[in-house]
Amino acid sequence: MSEKTMNLTLYVWRQANAKAPGKMERYEAKGISPDMSFLEMLDVTNEQLIKQGIEPIVFDHDCREGICGMCSQVINGVPHGPEELVTVCQLHMRRFNDGDTIFIEPWRSKAFPIEKDLMVDRGAFDRIMQAYGYTSITCGGAPDANDHPIPKWQLDRAMDAAECIGCGACVAACPNASGMLFTAAKVAHLNMLPQGKPEGARRVKAMIAAHDLEGFGNCTNHYECEAACPKGVKTAFISYLNKELIKALPKGAQD
């Protein structure tokens, strides 16, 4: 609860729409309290811009408690900024100092076209999910929830993968703009559970194929995605994904 405020220099990517060229613009953010979240700092800056007759910065945000996966900013070269295991909305300004210069850019990837300023279109992730990110269970026919005991370790492992919030920081961080960590987390979550096993081979093939179609780069094991992931999803799941594909390769007839 400190009383002092900060003044910051922001360089923000401004781009009118998907087709327009963009560039970095310089703004001053004045009177920023260290208790503000990064997004609140942008709110305040936007209010200041509006009063100056400048169009406010567009950025995606919604729940502001780190779970919806909407916020998507690369801050000083790191997706979701300098603090580990948080999303932009949970990053607080006390991580910065008075007089700092902050660079704010959108996720950059061919598969995530920029809609405006810092807002990108992550429909590619939805399409990967539509490829086979589900179990083919129809509502109403489910057996009792305790019919398939799932050992705790196995469940915990699947849950580790299921923590993914689909924000896309992995793509933003990857030197190749690959979406492999997301794809792997989704495949692992389901393939590791008995409910997902029967369709495991079909799932892994379909989801990798969908990933490739979207124009993501290929995974070359830089592990930057893991370092940027606000939920700590591990690249071990990519290894698991690879293994699932190897296991699925001989099952050509199932395609």
């Binding site: 360089y11 990517w13 963009g22 970095m24 690369v74 000083n76 070269g77 790191v78 660079f103 850019e105 950059r108 990837s109 061919k110 598969a111 961080a173 030197p175 190749n176 703009a177 690959s178 492999m180 093939k205 990798i208 194929a209 990933h211 490739d212 124009g215 993501f216 780069g217 290929n218 995974c219 070359t220 094991n221 830089h222 592990y223 930057e224 893991e226 370092a227 940027a228 591990k234 690249t235 071990a236 990519i238 290894s239 698991y240 994904l241 690879n242 293994k243 699932e244 594909l245 190897i246 699925a248 390769l249 050509g252 395609d255």
Partner: protein, 224 residues
């Protein structure tokens, strides 16, 4: 089989071909060590290899296919990866990736050039002095590999090229080894750092092994 053309399929191909190349390199470096036994060592080793006859050609052919696949996919994947981010960041800070990982395409392409140079030099004997003399120099009927190598590394430029290439090989293999295990699905967060350490160690052993030959020749410990 279409999955082999997918990103992960090609990554698997890179891993498997890479592993075969590493095995080849391991055999190669072990064979090369016979030079320290003296002329009999490496020349006998060379004769032994030639005696394999058609099998040698099978191995050569397999290695060629493996090598071409590795290079071809390596270039293709890199081009795709570059295209995946058409507009680059103004500021980008990488947190964990290594110099080796970031420079795979550079080290790879240089090694490609080096391999061509190396095959031309020591296999096809381009630029080797007195090839005709050497041809029957060992036991009157075999090529004298020892003399060729030692005289070859008498030239500082050759030593420089070989040492430089082997330093790049160190980087290439140090990323490649753990990458191979990760790609084959044999990794998890406990063993991943160990793989990285083992990869570095292996790469170091191989490159020191290779580098030791020109260096020891240059300083005169191994001589004619």
């Amino acid at each position: 089989m279409s999955m082999l053309k997918s990103s992960v399929g090609r990554k698997l191909t890179m891993a498997v071909t890479g592993a075969i190349l590493v095995l080849f390199i391991l055999g190669h470096v072990l064979g090369n060590m016979s030079i320290f036994v003296g002329p009999e060592g490496i020349n006998a080793y060379a004769v032994h290899l030639r005696d394999l006859g058609p099998l040698l050609w099978v191995v050569r052919l397999v290695m060629l296919v493996v090598f071409v696949l590795h290079v071809w996919f390596g270039i293709q994947l890199t081009l795709e990866n570059r295209a995946a981010r058409p507009v680059d960041y103004q500021q980008k800070k990488n947190l964990v990736t290594t110099f080796a990982a970031k420079t795979m395409i550079v080290s790879g392409l240089v090694l490609l050039a080096f391999v061509i140079y190396h095959v031309l030099h020591f296999t096809l004997h381009v630029g080797v002095d007195n090839v005709d003399q050497l041809a029957k120099a060992y036991m009157g009927e075999h090529f004298d590999v020892y003399t060729m190598v030692v005289t070859g590394f008498g030239k500082a430029i050759n030593v420089l090229v070989y040492v430089a290439a082997m330093i790049l090989l160190f980087f290439h293999v140090s990323h490649g080894f753990q990458s191979f295990l990760q790609t084959l699905g044999l990794s998890n967060e406990c063993v991943q750092p160990k793989y990285q350490a083992v990869g570095k160690f292996l790469a170091l052993v191989v490159s020191i092994g290779f580098i030791s030959i020109p260096v020891l020749i240059m300083v005169g410990i191994v001589k004619l």
